[in-house]
Structure formats: C-alpha cells, structure tokens
C-alpha cells in the first residue's frame, strides 16, 4: 500500500504516479468536462394523491362487499 503509484490513485492531489498520469492523458479525450443539459419531462407516474384515491376507493368497495356478505339471505316474508 506504500507504492506511490497506488497512493496517487486514491488521492490525485497527493500526486499520481507516472503510469497513472500517462493513463489519464491517454483517456482524456473520453472525458466530458460539463454534463450536457438535461430536459426533464412531466412525470408520467401516478402522483401519491392519486394512489391514495385508488386505495380509498378499493377500501370502500371491500367494506361494502363485507357488509353485503354479512347481511346473509333475506328472511322470507311471513
């Protein structure tokens, strides 16, 4: 771990070794100094408020089903 070549890999400000610097120079054409602009679209996914709406409707439907099931068959008229 005391190899200066390897130490410079971790912390470039400490001074990278000659081989590392040669690699950096060779790879330089592939680097982009600034990210290109990113245009964000409107989010297509459901918003949390809509998710809650769906959940509330599903819950209400489940409660109604349970209520209907518990009522059982209608008593025949006397």
């Amino acid at each position: 771990m005391n190899d200066p070549e390897l130490e410079g890999l971790w912390d470039p400000s400490a001074g990278a070794g000659g081989y590392t610097r040669a690699l950096e120079r060779r790879l330089r054409p592939l680097r982009r100094d600034e990210p290109p602009p990113l245009v964000l679209p409107e989010r297509a996914t459901r918003t949390p408020s809509r998710v809650w709406t769906y959940a509330a409707v599903a819950f209400a439907a489940a409660v109604a089903l349970v209520w209907v099931a518990r009522r059982g068959p209608e008593e025949p008229a006397p």
Binding site: M1, E5, L6, L9, W10, D11, P12, S13, Y19, T20, A22, L23, E24, R26, L27, R28, P29, L30, R31, R32, P35, P36, L38, L40, P41, R43, A44, T45, T47, P48
Partner: protein, 183 residues
Amino acid sequence: MRAPPVSPGTVDSEEEPPDDRARVEEAARGGRRAFQRLYARYYAPVRAVALANLGWPEADDVTQEVFLRAWERLPQLRHPERFGPWLLQIARNRCVDHHRRARVVGAPAERGALPPPVSEAMEVLRAIQRLPSAYRETLVMRLVEGMSGPEIASRTGLTPRSVRVNLHRGMLKLRAALGEELP
C-alpha cells in the same frame, strides 16, 4: 488467496451527506432544481458505469436515459440515502438492456475511423472493459472522470476501503494487461 472484487452493486455503508438526502426528497416531490443538482453531482459516476460497460459514444446517450428514468422512478425510492447505489444500479440495468437491444437489432454501423486521440483512448478503455466489473467501473471513475477515492466512495455507497482495494487491484491488473509501456 485473493478476496473477490467488491462490486459497486453491493451496498456496504458510507452515509451520504445530509444535503443529498434533502435534495433527493425534494426531487421526489417534483423539485426539478433539486434533481438538476443531483444530475450535476452524479453525472460522472453514471457516465463511468456506462463507459465501463458499453463504450464511447453510446455512454452519453445511456447516461441521459438513466437520469430520465431516475426522474420518473424517484418517488418509488424508499431509502433516499441510498440514491447513489440505486442510480448506479439503474445505469447497469440500462447497459444490459442496451446490449440486449444491440443483439436483436444488430451491431450499430461502423462510425468511420476515429481521430487518433480517441482511438488511442479506446484501446485503453477496451483493456479496462476486460477487467472484472467492480475494477473497471472504479477505474473509469478515477482515470476517465477524474474522481478521487473519497468521491467514488461517497457516490457509489462503497466503503472507502473497498474503493481503495478496487483501485489498487484494478490498476495492477490493468498494468499487467497493457504492459509497462502504454500501447
């Protein structure tokens, strides 16, 4: 016996600074400015993953796709502090999709001869791409994108020790592959 490389896909601690978490939460609620800041901060590591797995110039298109997908899916991220590893995993998945599409559609047409500085850089990049995944991603972050070890650790979610190990072992393997004199 050598320990296996530590993959950036395996998340093993290292807290993100609190401002990152706040930005992620704000962006998840629709904050575009917060997301643009995350884009500026994470552009280099995401592009490094794309370069390490695909090459140039495909990496630039895939990097944009990764951030657009992240923007759509951010509200589903349960642990904002894991934003970096989550984003890099999206990048790896997009690279796999890209390879799959290329197999179905066919290899892209040759783009013509690259100018010498780029073709020489591509020779070295191809040697890096032949290394195990953990080494190649970390090395591209360091050698192409110019990130320091601590920066790599904070963006990838790897421990500083894991990054150091990946850098050192990766460099030894790369040096063995390229030889003492660069091609």
